[in-house]
């Protein structure tokens, strides 16, 4: 039986990598490896997961230096020479081992006004949104975000500017800016404009490169740049 050498981050913000030997299995995912360690080798290992099928967005970690969703990342894709290094997501405080504190990540969604501001009441009819309208197409492009934090951990601007809202929150704001049912467009554009918002993006595209759902937050942020610039020129901002 072949084994995999796994270096796993132990500790909080400061700590060290601990070596484990894990049996190699066919179709093994990185999450399988972490779960094996926690159940068979060291029950004190802290990590986070829920659905195991790429829906919930809770199992993202840094695998060989790259942020990935571990439940859908096969070991065969990332293990070089029978070794793999697994750490917590970057750009977030580490609580313990592989579990990060994601409060700031989600607080920034709220700061970017990432919730719908409804304009209709229960007495109104359903909104009819043509699927092929440009606004609906723009919203559809970004709507499948699972909030895993891979983009946020991969973003250079987040690392340099702690106030920056980040790719996920801005992508969410862009989907809502294209939602015809929403009534807070100008307030949201105001919330995502400027140094902490879309204008800080340098278009490095790490978020787009690494998003496991193949969303392009860079394109959403570019959309916000256009929309906020237009609003500023019209004097709405």
């Amino acid at each position: 039986m072949t084994t995999l050498q796994v270096d796993v981050w132990r500790g909080a913000q400061s700590g060290r990598y601990q070596r484990f030997e894990v049996p190699r299995e066919a179709n093994q995912t990185v999450l399988d490896v972490v779960t094996y360690i926690q159940r068979r080798l060291d029950a004190t290992l802290a990590y986070r997961f829920a659905c195991r099928v790429g829906m919930c967005g809770s199992c993202a970690m840094t695998v060989n230096g790259v942020a990935r969703w571990t439940c859908r990342t096969h070991v065969s894709k990332v293990a070089h020479g029978g070794r793999v290094e697994i750490g917590p997501l970057a750009n977030l405080p580490v609580i313990k081992d592989l579990a990060t504190d994601m409060r700031e990540f989600f607080d920034k969604w709220a700061r970017a006004k990432g919730s719908l501001a409804p304009t209709a009441t229960r007495r109104d009819d359903f909104a009819r949104v043509p699927p092929d309208s440009p606004a609906r197409a723009a919203a559809t492009a970004g709507i499948e975000c699972i909030g895993c934090g891979v983009c946020y951990a991969s973003c250079d601007v987040v690392a340099w500017n702690p106030d920056y809202l980040g790719p996920a929150a801005l992508n969410r704001a862009w989907t809502l800016a294209n939602d015809v049912r929403d009534g807070a467009r100008v307030e949201r554009l105001r919330a995502v404009a400027g140094d902490a918002g879309c204008h800080a993006c340098h278009t490095h595209m790490s978020c787009t490169e690494r998003c496991p759902k193949a969303i392009a937050p860079t394109a959403s942020i570019a959309g916000l740049k256009r929309a906020t610039a237009l609003a500023a020129l019209k004097g709405e901002l």
């Binding site: 340099w160 500017n161 404009a193 400027g194 140094d195 204008h199 500023a232 901002l237």
Partner: protein, 113 residues
């Protein structure tokens, strides 16, 4: 600084970048074209002195650079040096002023007879 002002800075930087892109291309093409058979300082001055076209072109070039560069430096100062606030704003206004004054002085020097 309000988000609106920050957005206006972004618009100013993009607009000045568009101007600079055109100016740099014209500038380089003219250099390569004019230098084919060699060129002396006296010949250059002979073409630029009293020429309002070149005065306007390089005047716009300098002003676009004076707008564009400080806004880019602002992002670098904030991200790499953690420098923010009033002192940064003052420093960047001085950079803009220096670029504009030194650049326009040079433009005037090759225009004035």
């Amino acid at each position: 600084m309000t988000a609106r002002t920050q957005t206006n800075l972004w618009i100013a930087q993009r607009a000045s970048a568009a101007v600079l892109a055109l100016c740099v291309v014209v500038h380089l093409v003219v250099i390569v074209y004019a230098m084919r058979g060699g060129l002396s300082a006296a010949e250059i001055l002979g073409r630029t002195r009293g020429n309002f076209g070149w005065l306007a072109f390089y005047g716009v070039f300098v002003l676009a650079a004076a707008v564009h560069a400080p806004i880019g430096l602002r992002a670098i100062a904030m991200e790499w040096l953690g420098w923010r606030g009033r002192s940064l704003s003052i420093a960047l206004h001085l950079v803009a002023l220096a670029l504009a004054v030194l650049g326009l002085r040079a433009v005037w020097a090759v225009f004035a007879p």
